[in-house]
Symmetry: C2
Subunit: 121 residues, 2 copies
């Protein structure tokens, strides 16, 4: 549907940061502006396609700024917009929660993975 009916704002927020790499991007950009390749190395195991795609979406959503230096070889810097900063701020408590309960959550997730493996085997 093109008319989203967000019930609790949470939906709205997740509509923006939903996507495997977006939280990471937000996280890494919240500290400072970064060049594309720099960002990719920081995140680690992202494919170019994914990173570019998510960056484009975040850019379209007004979360990140893309600064093209028009140089050869290409140089592009990504940073958070003011809007993106507010989002990053709202994300902090959740991030803190995740850090606080990291071990529990890791256990939970790996248990899920285990049961999935067991099903396959």
């Amino acid at each position: 549907m093109a008319t989203p009916d967000f019930v609790c704002g949470l939906d709205a927020a997740l509509a923006v940061i939903g996507g495997k790499w977006k939280p990471l991007i937000l996280f890494h950009l919240s500290h400072e502006a970064r060049r594309y390749g720099d960002l990719r190395r920081a995140i680690g195991n992202v494919s170019d396609k994914m990173l570019i795609q998510q960056l484009k979406e975040l850019e379209a959503d007004g979360i990140v700024d893309r600064l093209d230096f028009k140089e050869i070889p290409p140089k592009v810097e990504y940073s958070l917009t003011a809007f993106g900063q507010t989002l990053a701020g709202a994300l902090k408590p959740l991030c803190a929660w995740g850090m606080e309960h990291l071990i529990e959550v890791e256990k939970l997730v790996s248990r899920r993975g285990a049961s999935k493996v067991a099903k396959v085997a």
Copy 2:
């Protein structure tokens, strides 16, 4: 992978509340315990399969409590665990952000939808 490498806690949190209906469930249960059918009507357009599935996952993750009254006809109540409450608390700022920027986000999302429709047509 069964060994998740959460970089920023955000990942961890999203691993738990990722899923189309989980935020809504958290939201509705954060106020009070609810019977299954009650919850389903509150959320609106969920299918039984989805709601049950997500509830099971949240239960397995120790986020919600399932209280089976062992009655016929069946009566089951769902509520947040203490752990779930902490998560709901951490979620509040994000929820507030979503509410605050609801109009912008709705515009963004419907724009995405529009371009998608345009592509199809």
